[in-house]
């Protein structure tokens, strides 16, 4: 269930406002709690722009409006409607989080059909970006299958950061040998994530733009982050252009019918 999980995670991450904890966290668990405590509650609507640059420098842009809602069981529902490129206008994805399994529905206006997509394939880029399912899974929690270990504090984007080294469980099927996360000490926003593949080769780096850090009603968020694939020499920038939190969204917004109707 790569694709729906991906988007779900993506949106969760983007939404992850991260208020600083009252006392400075010390252990890995405390730092993770500081980051995870920022999971937003309720609803939001945001406009996201994703720009990908390929190996010869050509750029493509994707613009979408993302509706997000968390139900009483703390399960997310996400509706993503594409506005650009023009051929994609009207296309939409609906993501519904379940226990252990996520549903993903796609709507292709040209076929006038809603299709549920399922996949077990865990690797590969998502929609031509530099993010993979695993990347987003890591971004959200860094954790279910990875063990963290504090490293000496460092710096990310010129700001003091907690440094945690994560090693995936041997049977996790991760494409990474280990990851190093730099969490901003002031805001608890992960500012930099280094992803290493076999042979301790640095494969990707995800960086939040410190200039894009804004304090919303629920806490700090980084509005712009860039994933750079050092092996393939490509990069993807993801920016939140507009953000509304606590919007009144009816539950039917997240239905297959609504997906096809376009509202």
């Amino acid at each position: 269930m790569k694709r729906n999980s991906f988007l779900l995670q993506l949106l969760s991450v983007v939404m992850a406002a991260t208020p600083a904890a009252g006392a400075a966290p010390d252990t890995v668990e405390e730092i993770e709690a500081c980051v995870e405590a920022n999971q937003p509650e309720g609803t939001s609507v945001q406009t996201i722009v994703v720009r990908s640059v390929n190996r010869v420098g050509s750029e493509t842009e994707m613009r979408s409006k993302v509706y997000w809602m968390q139900d009483e069981d703390e399960r997310s529902k996400v509706l993503m409607r594409f506005d650009a490129p023009p051929d994609m206008r009207g296309s939409a994805i609906l993501l519904l989080e379940h226990d252990g399994r996520n549903d993903m529905f796609m709507y292709l206006p040209e076929l006038r059909r809603v299709r549920r997509i399922t996949t077990h394939m865990m690797q590969g880029s998502m929609f031509g970006t530099d993010f993979t399912y695993e990347d987003f899974e890591r971004l959200q929690g860094m954790s279910d299958d990875a063990s963290g270990e504090r490293s000496p504090d460092g710096e990310a984007a010129g700001r003091p950061a907690y440094v945690i080294r994560y090693t995936p469980a041997p049977d996790s099927g991760s494409e990474y040998s280990h990851m190093i996360s730099y969490v901003d000490q002031e805001t608890c926003v992960p500012m930099r994530l280094e992803l290493f593949e076999g042979g301790d080769r640095l494969r990707k780096v995800l960086e939040a733009d410190p200039a894009s850090l804004t304090k919303e009603s629920t806490g700090w968020i980084a509005r712009t982050m860039t994933m750079r694939d050092l092996r393939d020499e490509t990069n993807t920038e993801m920016a939140i252009e507009e953000l509304e939190i606590g919007v009144d969204l009816p539950a039917r917004t997240f239905s297959q019918r609504s997906l096809a109707r376009g509202n």
Binding site: S58, D87, M88, E110, R116, I117, T118, M121, G124
Partner: protein, 912 residues
Amino acid sequence: MERFADLVIRRRRAVILLVLALTGLAASRLVDFRTGAPRLVLDSSMDSLLPTEAESRLYYDRVRRLFGSDETLLLVARREAGIFEPATLEALQAATEAVEAIEGIHHVTSLSNAPILRPEAGDLVIEPLFDEVPRDPEVLRALRDEALDNPVFASGLLSEDGRATALVVVPLDMSAVEFEARALDRRVYAAAAAELDDVDLRMTGGAHVKAETSRFLLADLMLVVPLAFALMAVIALVTFRSLRGVGVPLTTIGIGVVWTLGLAAEIDPSLNIVTIAVPTLVLVVGFAYAVHVVTAYMEVLPEAGGSSPAAARAAVEQVGLATLLTGVTTAAGFLSLTTSDLGAIRQFGLYCAIGVATTMLATLTWAPAVLACLRAPAPDGKRTEERSGDRVGRLLRWLADFDERHRSAILRAGAVVGVLSLVGMSRIAVDTDLVTNFPRDAAVRRSFDAVNEWLGGASQLTVVLEADERDAFKEPANLAILEGLQARIDARPEVGSTTSLVDYVKLIHRGFRDGEADAYAIPASKALVSQLLFFGGSDELERYADSTYKETAILVRASTAGTGETNALVDAVESILEELPESIEGRVTGGTVLLARTSDDIALGQALSLSTAFLIIYAILVLLFTSFRVGFFALLPNALPVLVYFGALGWSGVPLNITTGLVACLVLGIAVDDTIHFLTRFNLDSKRLADERAGAKEALLHVGRPVTTTSLALCLGFLVLTFSSLRDQQQFGVLASFTLGVAWLVDLTFTPALAMGVRLVTLWDLLTVDLGKDPQHAIPLLRGLSRTRARIAALMMDIVEQPAGTRLITAGAKGGDVYVVLEGRLRSSVRRDGAEVLLNVHDRGDAVGEVGLVQGERSADVDCETAVRLLRFEPRDLERLRRRYPRIAAQVLANLNQLLARRLVTATSRVA
């Protein structure tokens, strides 16, 4: 040269120490003495064979960046009963994972992990063909049908009969050196073979073929160089029959090789598949140099009173200049290769030139210094030629007579051979084939053939289409053009399969429309194409379209092996591409394509390099022999073997390729050595004997032996390459050997025949000829000429010496020679009534015998009052001067006319 020889011999111990120190230094560049690890490695990459700055190369690099590398490893598993059987599919799955886990692998695509879109109970499932291998035969059969029904699988991963399947392994971008250091192909094969133990597993692909080429070359190097060394030792032993005769040449060439490779390592720490031949080449060329010095040493040893230093000094004096000249011309021949566009050829030319220069230096320093230090062998009263039973000497004498008797026939035969060679040249085919280069039973070759048979093609080409706007290849009309183009390429018999964006678009379309049969088609609208690609695309699409869909690629798998076949296919595809609409531009590229295209450039480059080499050598010969005409004559014996070589290529059907293309320059460089040795000696002997015919014969007797020895050594040396496993190396050895044999034959027949009609005036003569002070003023015959022209005129005549008291001319005798006094005094007299009547005393500048020139009979006696040096000429010399230097001849003839007129006036006044 005398001063140089003197310096080397006087400071011989210092010279030896210096050479050893330099050799140690050079060796330290080759091997890390602390770890024993080699510093000079072999790079089998094709990069050095491709032009670095050429537009086609830059384009190929861009396409690789855009669509990924085509340097893949192709593992193909075949099972006679079919691969859709649980154990085989499980093994395939395990092999895919095992190979993917190898460090250095970018990714692996196989039936077990390539995504497939499958409508299933109203859902669209995107997953591999199988996750858990089914056991049910029915399900397996359905799986097989589904795979074969998937055009993307069928065109690249699965054979039509379902018996063979491929694992396409894409390594990380790394140099060939790193690839080989990691033995990545072998590790990949071992990992796959460990799992796929019940199938016929083969590996091919550009990366593997190159790595195997590198391994074969290294193995050959380990065999050929010691063999060449051993062969040189045997030849030296047979020739000189002494330890020094073996040791000195071998250590000399060993030093030359170490210096060459040491310098090569400084320039580039890796040898490529062309420069790997440099050590062997330096060995055989250097041996020839050393043999000349040792031969001269052995010859002059008895005359030097058994003194080693004196003999070594004399040897350098005798052959030093010729060695220097041959070194310069050979190096120039090789340096001409540095004009090539190809890095490998440029390096080859440079390294060979360095090799020639260093070996020449070692020959003129180390060899004489060591010879001078060694105790002279006990005299056995025999000269070298006598030791060998003088059979060679007798043969050479016979040959010299033969050359003289059949001079015209030899020259005509040379012309006929030249013409036949020119005809053969028109039949030359250009083809480089890395695969058939391997022995027939080599696994890499058998695998290539097997994969060609099973999957329809093991070679990969990329056809790139570029439109003039973004998203152009989402337009159904353009996709239809792409589809049509792909179908036409697919129809070519040598094409096994093609895969393009259209295949994916149609597959995704069918998947999103629940597998309806008519949905396997190009969608009707651009928007639908966009949406399908966005939601249904996978990483694999990156190999077929760039992210802006302005460019797209068709991957073509073909059974072409050599560059000739590849070029033919590329030409055919390019002619199809010309029919594309203006808004779309098409181009064929890929490593094999670039190599194939480059081979034409190589052929042209060789011709250009050869022309440059000829020009350089001609310029040197003109400078050396101070005449364009003689320079041309001297060039002919060198050009003839090269012509014969190219003619032989054409007539034998051996293709011109990267390796065989180097033979011509090599032969030109080496052949010119023997020609120069001959002409230098001929110059000395013809002047000494004052007769070109006698001079040519004498020169042949002197030079024939070392030329034969060195040619034999060179021919056998190159024949050692026939022990190589690679066909190109074998052909290189045979062709080089054959052509050097031709060069030897030319030098023993054609060159002397040609020389018999030529009077040489070398630059050396011009600089050193002694005509006394201001000859152009002091000698009336040379009046009105510049100093240089006066020297040229004198050198076209003979300079002879006579001791005091001897008679130069006897009255009444027949003869037409004229003598001009350069030094000393002559007296002319007649006998009247038994008594001698003094006619005149002749000092510097005076001429005698001019009457004989006119009437053919001597009118007076001429005696040498003192020891004299005279300039002697006869009508034949004047005629030759007229032909070669007409302006000088005009002045000399005018002066001679004046001399005769003055003599007439004097005689008339006496009568009066």
